[in-house]
Amino acid sequence: MSVATSAASAPAKGSPKPWPILPMIELATLAALVATPFVLANRPELITLMTNILILSLLAVSFDLCWGFSGIMSYGQALFFGVAGYVIALVGRDLEFSQMWATLPLAMLVGGLLAAGLAAFLLLGRKTPTSIFVAFGTLTGAYAAERLVAGWQYVGAGNGLSAIKLMSLGQYEFVEGFEFYSVALILLLIVYLVSRVIVRSQLGLVLAGMRQNEERLAFFGYRVQVFKALIFTFAGSIAGLSGALYSYHQGFTGPTNLGPGLSTTAVIYCLFGGSGTLIGPVLGTVAIELLSYVLADTDAIKQYWTVILGIVLLVVVMFQPTGLLGLVVSSRERIGSFGKRGAR
């Protein structure tokens, strides 16, 4: 798992490199996640919770690829999540088909195409858009999609689509439980490894440059917008995968699955854990979802949980932009920094 902390992250200069913490965190997380279903063998509802967490962390990772690595503030990541989820539900309903070896790639394709389309509209073209415009464009995309879907009878309108055909492999159907958890974990692992390779590669270097100073990179001759579109498309396909898994697991999808609400939640997951590190969003999702599950039983908190989350976001944004991971991982090692960028 450790393509060691390479040149991509640390400027090769004098001072001795501190012990790389990130790979250790990654390994520890992997170990914990693998052990979980065995530890929780007799608490099926907790396995269900953890499966959900794994699926949602995929969404958070997709956001991190956009923001933490490329500086694209995507306020509408849930758009790809939700649309893929709907497509899966429709395929299950109208075509009665839910074989995972076909539908999951389909979800990724849908997510990727949609992201490519949105990227083409927002990013490419003669005039370079401001980052505010891109952020706002993604928000509007998600918002418009949500309103469209909420009024469209074919996709269930406000009711959403329920009783989604279970994900299947041959004759076997996946319900919540150990098997689904394993599938989710394996997929998360694959996506994680692929992403890690990408961000440590030469492409990753370009992304890092983009993140630090877009204009300068453009002057070097790199077509910055094209790279942004590429990574946005990739992130979109991951979000699509996440959305499909979510639909299969929950058995339900609705307009809220594509809107700004869920998108912002993904942002919170990622920022809280620590953006720009890939493992940060995973940890963030785990932390927030576990916390909400545990605290939810306390009456007083339940009423104001959303307020607390808002405060968490505000605090993170104001005081600890590097998130939880920023507390333990040195900024040298972090594959990206949240901090101040030139206002564009």
């Binding site: 406000g158 329920s162 919540e176 929950q250 809220t256 609400g261 909400s292 939810a296």
Partner: protein, 409 residues
Amino acid sequence: MTGPNLGRRGFLSSAAALSAAGWVGSVAGGLVLRPGWAHAAGPIKMGIATDITGAIAPSGNANWQVAQFAVEEINKAGGILGQPIELYLEDTASDPKIAVGNVRKLIQERKVDVVLGGITSAMRQAIKDPIVNRGKTLYIYPQLYEGQECTKFLYNTGPSPAQQCDRLIPYLIKTLGKKRFAMPSANYVWPQLLNKYARKVIEANGGEVVFEEYYPLDQAEYSATIGKIKDGKVDCVFMTIIPPGLQPFVKQLYESGFQKNGGVLTCVYYDENLLNYHPAQEMEGLVSCLDYFQAVDDPFSKKLQEGYAKKFPGTKYLFTAGSASTGMYRGVKFYEAAVKATGGKLGREEVAAAMDKAVLTEGPGGGAEMVPGHYHAKMNMYIAVCKSTDGKTRYDIIDKASMVDPREC
């Protein structure tokens, strides 16, 4: 925007969706109520999945309280065949997405024997699969809705469109003499299916539907609609708009002088709670048809209200028909009757078979009877008109129909 203090049908919401409230974290309020004398010999576990927080909270809290009230009565009388009922609450938070997760808790963690709840149709659609299919548990849905829910092991204890329209519309056409109908509606499934049914009844009784239109839930400007109402000489508005678009529409309708010129506004989800959403003068003359109004002169119903007020003094959550409370009461009592009939056995198949034939002799607004094989119940239906005096509104009952057939499935 989010739903109303009376939800039911699949309203959901573009705007509710907007409010990140739903999506941030899964907020579940797991709560257990166990009577003091519960003993290990298998209490009956009843799960309530309703909206304690979020836009539908006013209805959700009302029917949670009614459930507690009904169960307490049963337990005080010794439970069902000696077994006490344990109540488990999960908050569906007015968001189907969160609801799915929390309902799963009821099934997997608490292992309840029956789930009652869901208010909006969107909620019902979302949670019925985890309960009935994946969870293999009995599900009772207590709210008035658009009908056509014929899932096995899913019992509906709220009024169906037939029950609400079959007498109301003839009353409007024949007694009040209003023949030209307009159907301004919120754009989702409940109004669409309800309108389909209502249109049939209207035309069968010699009335005419001048126009039927659907608006986004947060539509605020209805000038075009009011214009069509005036031009089409509509004298009866069969409204299925819900908040937040509701208040602007009613206000604009009133300001256009519709009621002054003899027009009648009718809406089948209006209960006492909803009257408080508008200034009194806008509500004068509104006609509603529900399974219960607090004005109903029935000693048992009055006793229920007193008992409820004693258990929850000064509560802002009223025991009304619009908040799924009457259906919840019926649901709890039907379950009690069914378990009594099976001799205490709690298996889904047996209880369902018994519930299919269950009969209640008393309830809010009167008794109720399950129609065997049809998953719906016969109940009394009342037509009421809103009158306002000195800025205070109340309902006057003008018609009662006994044991109306739901005509579903």
